[in-house]
Subunit: 230 residues, 2 copies
Amino acid sequence: MDVQALVFDVFGTVVDWRGGVAREAARLLGPDVDAAAFADAWRARYQPALDRVRSGERPWTVLDALHRESLPEALASVGVDGVTGDVAGELVLAWHRLDPWPDAVAGLTRLRRSYVLAPLSNGGVRLSVDLARRAGLPWDLVLGAEVAGHYKPDPEVYDSAPRLLDLPPSAVCMVAAHTGDLAAARGRGLRTAYVHRPDEFGGRQVPPASDPDADLSVASFEELATALGC
Amino acid sequence: MDVQALVFDVFGTVVDWRGGVAREAARLLGPDVDAAAFADAWRARYQPALDRVRSGERPWTVLDALHRESLPEALASVGVDGVTGDVAGELVLAWHRLDPWPDAVAGLTRLRRSYVLAPLSNGGVRLSVDLARRAGLPWDLVLGAEVAGHYKPDPEVYDSAPRLLDLPPSAVCMVAAHTGDLAAARGRGLRTAYVHRPDEFGGRQVPPASDPDADLSVASFEELATALGC
C-alpha cells in the first residue's frame, strides 16, 4: 500500500467506550445502578440519533448534544428517573474521558514515525482533543464528522480526509474495528485496515476476527505498526 | 485571562517564512538569484491573491494553489523566466518547510501543558501538518483558513476556533506577530497576545515592540509561557 496517512475510527477502535462510560456512570450514579447496562443503553441510542442528522431530518448537531438528548431515556432504562444538570453534563463528558485500548498509544506512537495520523470519528472536535490530551494519543491533526459537517458513513466524512491532507484517497487508510465503517471508506477509494476489538461490547457481541474485504486485518495497533513496517 | 486554548498565526509568528523560502530558493534556483528578494517578491503577492478569495471574486482556493499561481511573477521579478514543473512544485513546498523561530518549540511545549494549542493560519491543513511534523510543533489539532473555508481576517476563521473547541470566544487567545490579525480576532471576542518578531522582514520593516490593544505583548513564546504561568 502506498499510504501516507492513517485515519482512525475512535469509539471501540482506539478507546473502550463501554468501560469508560460505565466507570463514569458508577462514579456519578452510585453503586445501585447497573453501569454497564447504562453504557449499553446509551450507546443503543447513538445510531438512531445520528440517523436523524444523516437523513436531513435535523441540521448538523454535534455528538455531545445528541448524547445529552438521549441521556434521559438511557437513565430511565436502568431505573434512574432524572439527574441534576451538573450530573448530566458530567455524564456527557464521560465520552471525553475514555481509556485507550492497552496497545493504542504504543502502536500509534510507532505509526506516527512514518504516517500522518488523525482521528476520523463521529465524536466532535473538542471530544477528540480531550480524549487525545487525556490519553496521550499522538494525532497530527483532528479530522472527523464535525469538520466535515456529516456523520459517518456519509461519504463527505471519508472524502474530507484526502481533501484536507491533499492526498489521493488511495494514499489514506481508514482503520476501524467495524466492517461497515471500512466498507464505506472503501467506497470512497480509501484503503482499509480492520482491527479486531473483541471486548468492545463486553463479550455480549463478538466481532469477526478479520475482515476479508480490508487490505489488512490485525489484532492491535502494535500489529498494525509491524505490518506497515514501523 | 480565563483562557483554555491558544491559537497561533504561523507565517512570521511561529516560523520564519522569509528565511525558509530564501533557503529553498537558493537550493532550487542557484546562487545567481537573489533568494531573499525572491521571497519578498513572492510574499508581496500573497495578500492580493487572498483578497480575490476574500472578496468572493473566486471560490475558496487553498494557499498552495495561490502560491503556484503567483510564482511566475515572483520569479520574473528576480530575473528568472521560468522553471520546470518539478521545480515549481518544490518551490511551493518551500512554504511547508519553514523553520520555527528559535523559541517556538520550547515555548509551545511549555504552553501545551496547560492549554490546547492549534495553528490558525492562512496556510492549508496539509501545510500546517507538514510544518508541524518537520519542526516538532506540538499542536493538539489543526485549525485555520482551510477548515473555515475563509481567509483571515474574515470573521469566519476566528469564529471557527471557539466553535470547534466548544469554548466561549473569550476562552480562546489568538497569538500573532501582526496587529491586524489580533484586531480582527478581538473583533470576534477572542483574547489576544502579540509577539514581537523583529526579523520577520529581514530588518527591512521593523514591527512595533508591543501592541497596546492586546491583552499581552511578549518577545517570545518562552516569555508567553512564563506570562501565562506555564
